[in-house]
Symmetry: C2
């Protein structure tokens, strides 16, 4: 075993520990920190980020990586993959000054607090000056990198290594008319009934039923937990401590169930990572799109399927007999798949979801290009909502303030949600070839073959393969929208009798 590899790993381990400590501090910020803690938390995150950055970009790391690149040339080996991924991260980190990282941590900590308040009061003006600072930081960040085909490429590459803005635009340009056509066809069909979904379901019982479902999925509670937060998310402190958060909205009580499935999908990906990758850059998911393919698969392919509810609906009815009195499973299935242009991305149905994502991508590209000013975002948001979905948010909380991402400095991220949908469908077709009785298993509440397949084909590999390579390796093609269009068409043809 190379002595130099050990030296590198020792440093990578410490950097990983620092990043995981940051994640704990950020998690706490979301689930429990009293408001007074904000300023100090920003400073703490800035310090941890600065030290991690210094350690990641030391001359020592640079030299070790140079030498190790010569020694480990087999990219199929774990060692080769570790060197390759670490070298890429090193090259990126070297371009970003430590001072910038520290500043970013402070700005985004304050921006997050402002966003929470702005959303609660539905007042964009509270968030606006913070978002302006975030956009300035984004421009500064891009300036550290060599000019790309498009400045947005630099942002996208951080979340979807190797992907170009133009590629995403091509995929979306192909997909958009097909989704629009589908939505039109649905619109001219008879709408499904879903009034029983919007009754008062007890928060506690819904929360617990969500836990029942994800326990059945195989989410390992000895290595995780679920907490309440303003926005559902998944976070990882270790392969053995990957947590999720969730929320309850009175107007959409059962959304909590689907958020639980979604976040558990992310968490099971992280829990399935090869334990030998722990404390190295190979641990965790390979990209956001692949990550999202996991969450969306559990939420939609599984959690909004008829076989799934053939198993779970009787249980749900037992818990809420009066709410679901007289409702048949097929009706329930149709209701949870009702297509209707709506305001909130995370609660959007599968047919309209990607349009929400495309809107955000256009806004981000507009901000990066300097075409859109932050002050005009609410107006632009509302105009695009009207264009794409024919509805206008009655307030900013349900419009431009709905997502946490920008407050955390995350731009370049949103398109991966739609790409994840596409990947989930590509994988789903392959899984159904490999596990021919999958529907029957799901109908019996059995998910171990499915989870086993995902563990073996995807989870265990962590960051070892780049996303496009992994998708190609498993499905025989790169990311594309054909499988997703087939999936949507089949599903909604059944539900809406198209």
């Amino acid at each position: 075993m190379s002595e130099k590899l050990n030296q590198l790993k020792e440093i990578l381990n410490e950097v990983s520990d620092l990043h995981h400590a940051e994640s704990v501090l950020e998690w706490d910020q979301n689930v429990g920190m009293p408001p007074g803690g904000s300023e100090a938390r920003g400073q703490q995150l800035a310090t941890l980020g600065k030290i991690a950055h210094e350690k990641s970009t030391s001359d020592e790391v640079g030299k070790l990586l140079e030498d190790l690149k010569q020694e480990f040339t087999d990219h199929e080996s774990d060692e080769g993959a570790l060197i390759r991924v670490s070298a890429r991260e090193f090259d990126k980190a070297m371009r970003v000054p430590a001072k910038f990282v520290a500043k970013q941590a402070i700005v985004t900590t304050q921006a997050f607090e402002a966003w929470v308040e702005a959303k609660a009061k539905s007042d964009f003006s509270i968030f606006r000056p913070h978002l302006e600072q975030v956009v300035d930081l984004v421009h500064e960040y891009i300036s550290f990198f060599p000019p790309a085909d498009h400045p947005y490429d630099t942002l996208l590459d951080d979340f979807e290594p190797g992907m170009k803005t133009a590629e995403v635009q091509t995929i979306f340009d192909d997909l958009r008319p097909k989704q629009v056509e589908l939505i039109k066809a649905i619109k001219s069909s008879k709408q499904v009934k879903d009034d029983f979904l919007h009754k008062k379901y007890s928060e506690k019982k819904v929360w617990e039923f969500g836990e029942t479902i994800i326990t059945k999925f195989g989410y390992d509670w000895s290595r995780g937990r679920q907490d309440k937060a303003p926005h559902p998310f998944q976070t990882t402190f270790s392969v053995n401590d990957t947590r999720i958060t969730n929320r309850y909205e009175a107007g959409n009580p059962l959304a909590t169930l689907f958020s639980a499935m979604h976040e558990a999908g992310h968490a099971m990906y992280e829990q399935g990572s090869n334990p030998t990758y722990e404390r190295t850059p190979l641990a965790g998911g390979t990209s956001l799109a692949v990550h999202e393919s996991q969450s969306r698969m559990w939420e939609n392919m599984v959690g909004r399927s008829l076989p799934f509810w053939e198993y779970f609906f009787p249980e749900l009815k037992k818990i809420f007999p009066s709410k679901l009195d007289g409702v048949k499973v097929k009706q329930f299935y149709k209701a949870i798949n009702k297509v209707e242009p709506s305001l909130i991305r995370v609660n959007a149905d599968e047919a309209t979801y990607n349009l929400h994502v495309m809107l955000r991508l256009e806004l981000e590209i507009g901000m990066v290009e300097g075409k859109f000013a932050v002050k005009d975002l609410p107006e632009i948001w509302n105009a695009k909502m009207n264009d794409y979905l024919g509805i206008v948010p009655p307030n900013d909380a349900q419009g431009v303030l709905q997502d946490v991402h920008w407050s955390s400095g995350l731009m370049g991220y949103f398109s991966t949600y739609a790409l994840g949908n596409l990947v989930s469908a590509q994988l789903w077709e392959k899984i159904n070839q490999d596990i021919q009785d999958l529907d029957d298993q799901i109908r019996k509440g059995k998910f171990d073959s499915l989870l086993g397949w995902l563990r073996k084909k995807i989870h265990v590999h962590g960051h070892k393969y780049d996303p496009q390579d992994l998708v190609q390796k498993i499905t025989g093609s790169k990311i594309d929208s054909a499988a997703y269009v087939r999936y949507l068409t089949a599903k909604y043809s059944d539900i809406y009798g198209l």
Copy 2:
């Protein structure tokens, strides 16, 4: 303003951030971490501890402190105090190798998990090998320091700067017979009735009533929160984020109220620290004894006083009418002050509490001297309980496994609990001279004069004055037991008609 002072502060700020990050990780370990997270958490804490230690002990810090000691010679100034306190911490930290700190973090993380399990199963054998490792670490730690009058001095000094084992032993030797005599006098008096305390009080309602009380005290929730943990404690992430934990024991439901007052007493001390001390070693409390004087004052001098319950008892009765039917406030007051030798330190009455502490001090000194082996602790514990209090724990959970401290590597700590009692009484006499109508204020549920006095005389000074100096400054004498004996005697003479 000295350029060198700014340089030093910048480093101290980062070290403080790292320590606060450690505190967040430890807090999470106590209140929510899934069991799987233990190993990684140990590594994360080890890494943070190592980096903080490296930063604290750099040549740069050493040189800055040398120069600054010449520049700031006025110990009454904030700058002078900062240099003095920082130099003392530097001298200590220089003696302890970084490797030791990292090893200690790993050992104590695992020891803590083992303790939780051992306590739950009441099985000392689960904890024993971990405690043996902790004791080895303690011996190794002492070996880094020059020989003191007693090896235990080195441990004590970390918690009570300047205090000697012999001094504590002198104070305790003076106090012990007086407490024993008092307990005897009480034993020969008519016992008070307290059956109504041991009914089933709803956990949720008791928890909320505890929050009502500490809100009245002045605990600032915008800068704190209360969570459930196996052991009540207080922790600080910033002057604006100081949290407490609590628990509920079915057999002793109202203990939750007193734990809330106790931990809030600690937290209000931290919340009152001069904000300009934030992120420096001057922030927070000056010693454990002074800290404990605050928690015990709110818990006992205030929370177990008759005026306090004259205000709160009617409220408590409203919440639990059937439990407290027919109980008069004086009866309730007597019941919560019932003296009875018991097993659990944190629930012990004021007359017997210090004997629990003395037992632990003797065990620790025995372990440090090598006189007591870890394997024999349960037996020694039980024998001493029999000697001092005439009772023997029926199991180790209620005996040697009851306290969290050793599992966290904390030795040298326990005597500060008793010293804190003594200080609380010394301060209480002084406060009652300065606020002559304090009893009347408490009887009206008013605590702002009291908190204001504590803020001004103690809290705001943070770590600026050493404990003995602070006590002397306020009360005119160093730590001694006279006031406490007067306090106990007066209180129990009334309750037991001595």
